[in-house]
């Protein structure tokens, strides 16, 4: 386990700084036996982050709890993937996705994320839960060019909504060409 520091209650300020940190291009790794775990409420505000998360992201619990989950987002991630993710979660379904996240210092780390809704006693969605595992390198290499293309489509469109729509259409076209569902596609990447 990496050393961690208990910080002063300066969470919100640190979060703002992090949202502006520039990627260093350095990739971080974590042990295969570990799972990065985090939980959010319905709005995506982090309510729990496990030790592995804190160690890999280089953050303290105080900095993370109460922050929006999106503040970990790496600029290389296409918005289409998150749009799909939230769509699935809102429908009460699980989703797997290969995601690249940002560490506090601008380093990045790839995860094989499994995001699920958390249901309350009467079956309503009360929050979301994410288990992130060490991805298979081959899967990451397969997904990288696809994400790059999606991101390119999104960036080259002045209108954000149009860019997102086109990016998602491109993703759907890739799936249709392979003749698989998104889930089958994601599972096929690891094999």
């Amino acid at each position: 386990m990496l050393p961690s520091f208990r910080s002063a209650p300066l969470g919100p300020i640190k979060q703002k700084l992090l949202s502006r940190v520039a990627p260093t291009g350095v990739e971080r790794r974590f042990p295969e036996r570990d799972i990065i775990v985090s939980k959010t409420d319905l709005k995506g505000t982090i309510t729990y982050a496990n030790r592995v998360f804190l160690d890999v992201a280089g953050l303290t619990e105080r900095e993370v709890i109460g922050a929006p989950h999106s503040f970990l987002r790496h600029p290389d991630m296409p918005r289409a993937v998150f749009a799909l993710l939230w769509e699935r979660l809102a429908a009460g379904k699980e989703i797997f996705a290969y995601v690249v996240n940002l560490a506090a210092n601008g380093d990045h780390y790839w995860v094989h994320a499994h995001v699920t809704p958390t249901f309350g006693a009467s079956g309503e969605i009360v929050g979301f839960h994410s288990n992130r595992r060490v991805p298979h390198p081959a899967a990451v290499e397969k997904i990288k060019p696809i994400y790059r293309k999606l991101r390119e489509i999104e960036d080259n469109n002045a209108n954000r909504a149009n860019g997102l729509a086109q990016s998602r259409a491109h993703l759907n076209a890739i799936l249709a060409q392979a003749g698989v569902t998104y889930d089958q596609f994601v599972f096929s990447l690891a094999s």
């Binding site: 496990n50 699980e94 929050g127 889930d183």
Partner: protein
């Protein structure tokens, strides 16, 4: 105190220590033992701070306890966050969180994977990475189960497909066979009806034939009788003819003899004619001699002249006889010819009568043959009538059988229809089961 935890006991003891130290400090102060008072005061303060730290530890433990209590109730959501402690207490919180995260991850993975299996999707596997020990083994077993279930369902689907192909085909063949059977039964029914009609007609025709045969039989009997009559007549005619033949033969012989006698008479007449000629010549010569003798010979001349006249008369008479004989010869020739012709005719009559007799014989034989044949025909007709009756009975039976077959084939068609429906229902159900939709719908 006996039910208290070590932490509570420690708190009580620390509190007691603080109070005792404070009391000692106050007493020392009143006794002007300033140094003692200061030392005891510091001890009391430390005990007070220790009390606060212990309360802090108690709060952390309470939080751990609360999270565990939730987990024990099946709520894996709560975690220990923002733990205001370090060292063992923080490690305790982290370990608890890690344990819960592991259980949570396993439960979510297993639930989601099995939900997919439930919904007929088999691409989903429990992600084994990050799961340790029992959880890893459990995940591995469940994944193996998913693979096995998928393989079995695929096999099941294949078997269903095979079943569809074979049983579906059999049922199709059965349906068409039943149709063929039905058609055959109908054809058989028609044939039986026709056979009945035909055999009826045959019976009728046989009766008619029987009547005709009777007529022919009696006719042939009459024919035999008249043939016998003809034979008898012919025999009589033959006898008469033969008798006539004999008679004409006798007449012929007589006529031949008569002709011969006439011929002999003619020769005698010729002889007389020659004698008369010679007599005439002699008379002539005597006459001449008489002349020579003059008167002496005159008498003699008269006699010679008389002889000459007699010779002339004889010549005339022989001439007449010769003419008569020629006439008789001609007539006897004609008679002989007629008799010959009669004999020939009679021979022809005999020949014809013989022919008639032979023909009558043959006719009689033929008539007998006809009578025998008629008997055979009568027997055959009786047999035909019998057979036609049997055929009629059989046709009746086969008509009933055909009717039964038609009924059975109708029932069979219904059964085949039901079988078809059952197979279709089964296949639908089986495919739903195989695809997992059934369990979802149920």
């Amino acid at each position: 105190m006996t039910n208290s935890s070590s932490l509570s006991q420690a708190e009580w003891l620390v509190r007691l220590t603080a109070i005792v130290a404070l009391a000692g400090a106050i007493i020392s102060l009143f006794n002007d033992r300033i140094l003692d008072a200061a030392a005891l005061g510091a001890a009391s303060l430390c005990a007070g701070v220790a009390m606060a730290r212990l309360r802090h530890a108690r709060a952390t433990l309470k939080a751990v306890s609360a999270v565990l209590a939730s987990a024990a109730k099946g709520d894996l959501e709560p975690r220990l966050v923002l733990t205001r402690d370090r060292g063992e207490m923080l490690a305790l919180a982290d370990d608890l969180n890690r344990a819960l995260d592991l259980v949570d991850a396993f439960v979510r993975e297993a639930t989601a994977t099995l939900a997919c299996v439930r919904d007929g999707e088999f691409h989903r596997r429990i992600v084994e990475r990050g799961l340790a020990g029992t959880f890893a083994r459990g995940a591995q077993t469940m994944n193996e189960a998913v693979v096995t279930i998928h393989a079995r369902l695929s096999g099941f689907s294949q078997v269903i497909g095979e079943f569809d192909r074979t049983v579906g085909a059999v049922s199709g063949v059965l349906a068409s066979e039943v149709q063929v059977l039905d058609g055959a039964a109908k054809t058989m029914n028609v044939a039986a009806t026709e056979t009945q009609e035909r055999s009826g007609a045959i019976t009728q025709q046989a009766a008619e034939t029987s009547a005709s045969v009777s007529t022919v039989s009696s006719a042939s009997e009459q024919l035999t009788a008249s043939a016998s009559e003809i034979a008898a007549q012919t025999r009589r005619a033959l006898d008469v003819s033969r008798s006539a033949q004999q008679q004409s033969s006798v007449a012929g012989d007589a006529m031949t003899e008569l002709t011969a006698a006439i011929h002999e008479i003619a020769e005698v007449v010729e002889l007389i004619a020659n004698i008369s000629t010679q007599t005439r010549t002699l008379a002539l010569n005597a006459n001449i001699e008489a002349v020579r003798a003059g008167d002496h010979g005159r008498g003699f001349g008269v006699v010679a002249t008389e002889v000459k006249n007699l010779a002339a008369q004889t010549a005339d008479a022989t001439e007449q006889i010769k003419a008569r004989i020629a006439d008789i010869q001609a007539k006897s020739d004609r008679g002989l010819h007629s008799i010959f012709a009669i004999g020939q005719t009679t021979s022809e009559v005999v020949e014809i009568a013989s022919a008639i007799s032979a023909a009558t014989e043959q006719q009689s034989l033929a008539t007998q043959e006809i009578a025998r044949t008629m008997q055979t025909v009568t027997d055959a007709t009786a047999a035909v009538t019998n057979n036609a009756t049997v055929v009629n009975t059989v046709a009746n039976d086969s008509g009933r059988a055909a009717h039964d077959v038609a009924k059975i084939s109708g029932a069979l068609a219904n059964e085949v229809g039901r079988l078809d429906q059952s197979v279709a229902d089964f296949l639908k159900l089986a495919r739903e089961v195989a695809s997992g939709r059934r369990s979802q719908a149920a």
